[in-house]
């Protein structure tokens, strides 16, 4: 890498950021932004070119993912608890997957990272300074791509795919509206605003994903290709 690896804040006890010599690439965006499709494309592309990849996402930890799922089903957690529960899930994957893979020189592709978690918590009224301290455990990625899609287009894509809107992706817990369609639009608009607020500190690249899958893929290949050549 052309710049030394750093943690955003305090980092992880007894982990030296300089040992994390792999490449960390993050793709962020709402459900329906084409995030997972793009990551699958990237894995194919990178592995074909002979590079080893590891994929991580949210709510996949051994430690708390089941419990987190159960708690969400009942919708009984308050906002601070939910924020910390997600942070625990993230930290477990960070220490068991992301850091070992980076130490071994892998390319880590993260399907969402701390920014989604922070944006969700901010929309629910959590303090940004508090969140920045909490997620100071995260290493700074080599590249972050935020796929933006207009809320109106997101609705269409989600309905075309599953014919339903997800309770949490519609922010129904916030009580914006009893109408799920309305609530989805309001919530995704608020999420977009939170991302723009976070962009000020974290400087991720905003990718217009209102376009076709192929043209987004092309742009990502170009940018990631340039990044890997710096090695």
């Amino acid at each position: 890498m052309n710049k030394p690896r750093r943690f955003y804040g305090h980092g992880i006890p007894r982990v030296n950021s300089e040992d994390l010599r792999g490449t960390l690439i993050v793709v962020e965006g709402a459900d329906g932004s084409g995030r997972s499709t793009q990551i699958a494309e990237l894995v194919k592309w990178l592995e074909t070119s002979g590079r080893a990849t590891v994929q991580v996402g949210l709510k996949r930890s051994t430690l708390v993912s089941e419990e987190l799922e159960r708690a969400q089903e009942g919708n009984v957690l308050s906002r601070t608890t939910l924020a910390l529960f997600y942070a625990t899930d993230f930290a477990d994957q960070l220490e068991n997957l992301i850091l070992p893979a980076l130490k071994s020189g892998f390319i880590v592709l993260a399907d969402r990272y701390i920014y989604t978690l922070m944006a969700r918590d901010m929309v629910r009224g959590m303090n940004e300074v508090w969140l920045k301290n909490l997620y100071g455990i995260a290493p700074e990625p080599d590249a972050v791509f935020y796929l933006t899609v207009e809320p109106q287009e997101l609705v269409q894509r989600n309905l075309a795919k599953t014919a339903t809107l997800d309770y949490w992706e519609s922010g129904m817990d916030l009580g914006f509206s009893r109408d799920m369609f309305d609530s989805f639009l309001k919530y995704q608009t608020a999420m977009g605003e939170a991302f723009r607020e976070l962009q000020k500190s974290y400087h991720f690249e905003i990718i217009d994903a209102n376009r076709s899958i192929a043209s987004v893929t092309k742009e990502l290949h170009k940018k990631i290709g340039a990044l890997l050549e710096q090695d």
């Binding site: 006890p13 430690l63 708390v64 419990e67 308050s78 608890t81 477990d92 508090w130 909490l134």
Partner: protein
């Protein structure tokens, strides 16, 4: 950080802190019994007891999956759940809340495990600090003996085995507890702990605890409202029922 009184909560929070085996749980239990007998609205909450988070915590501990960071975060999650769902509503409703361990337990343990102090404190900064924190200070040997006598098998994290201080769990436990004690003592002034000499007899300590609580907190403000007198008609009914019962007996 502000206390609950400074944050204008009608309720008050009292916490006890100390090493395992310092006798703090006995003392807060006796305090609870006394306050209940006095007709005070009181609620007791224990560290690491949220139903929601429990299964994840015990899985993490059993399978030794926890690192200093996840150990810290999972306990913070547990605390947040109890704080948001129980402590805050009760304190808003004017209860005296008694906590067996509070955020200082995390400050002492997590920092001993290597977490940065500012990070841990930041994570818990959503919580107000207690209106009274009593620290039960026993000689390290006294605490260790109490624990080691009663419970010969030490658990992995309890003994601080994750820190690789020693291969012998007993030796590891002693070193670990000693370091936690140092962390506690370093916080005493910052968080205005009242230190109670826990080498004294249980009854003697309880006299001190009760005096301290009644000096610091105007307890009569926290009494349960006495039950309202029953309206006359119901009283009559009750008397009638009693009369019937008497008749039954005669029959």
């Amino acid at each position: 950080m502000k206390t609950f009184a400074e944050s204008h909560f009608p309720g008050r929070l009292i916490a006890v802190e100390g090493l395992d085996g310092s006798g703090k749980s006995t003392q807060i239990y006796l305090l609870k019994r006394w306050l209940e007998a006095e007709g005070i609205k009181v609620y007791f909450s224990e560290w690491n007891s949220s139903e929601l988070v429990k299964s994840a915590t015990s899985k993490g501990k059993k399978r030794e999956l926890l690192t200093p960071t996840t150990f810290s975060l999972i306990h913070a999650t547990d605390f947040a759940d109890r704080y948001e769902r129980h402590l805050v509503p009760l304190l808003r409703a004017g209860y005296i809340v008694l906590c067996d361990r509070y955020i200082f337990t995390a400050f002492a343990r997590d920092v001993t495990r290597g977490c940065p102090p500012d990070w841990v404190r930041g994570n818990y900064s959503f919580a107000c600090i207690p209106d009274l924190t009593m620290f039960f200070k026993a000689d390290l040997d006294v605490s260790l003996n109490r624990i080691l006598e009663g419970r010969p098998k030490l658990k992995f994290f309890e003994a601080g085995m994750d820190l690789r201080l020693s291969n012998d769990p007993y030796e590891s436990f002693k070193i670990f507890q000693g370091r936690i004690l140092d962390q506690y003592l370093a916080m005493t002034k910052e968080f205005s702990f009242v230190i109670i000499d826990a080498n004294q007899a249980v009854e003697k300590q309880q006299v001190i605890v009760r005096k301290l609580v009644s000096d610091r907190i105007d307890l009569k403000k926290f009494k349960r409202r006495s039950p309202l007198p029953l309206p006359p008609s119901i009283r009559v009914v009750r008397e009638e029922i009693e009369i019937e019962k008497e008749e039954d007996k005669v029959a």
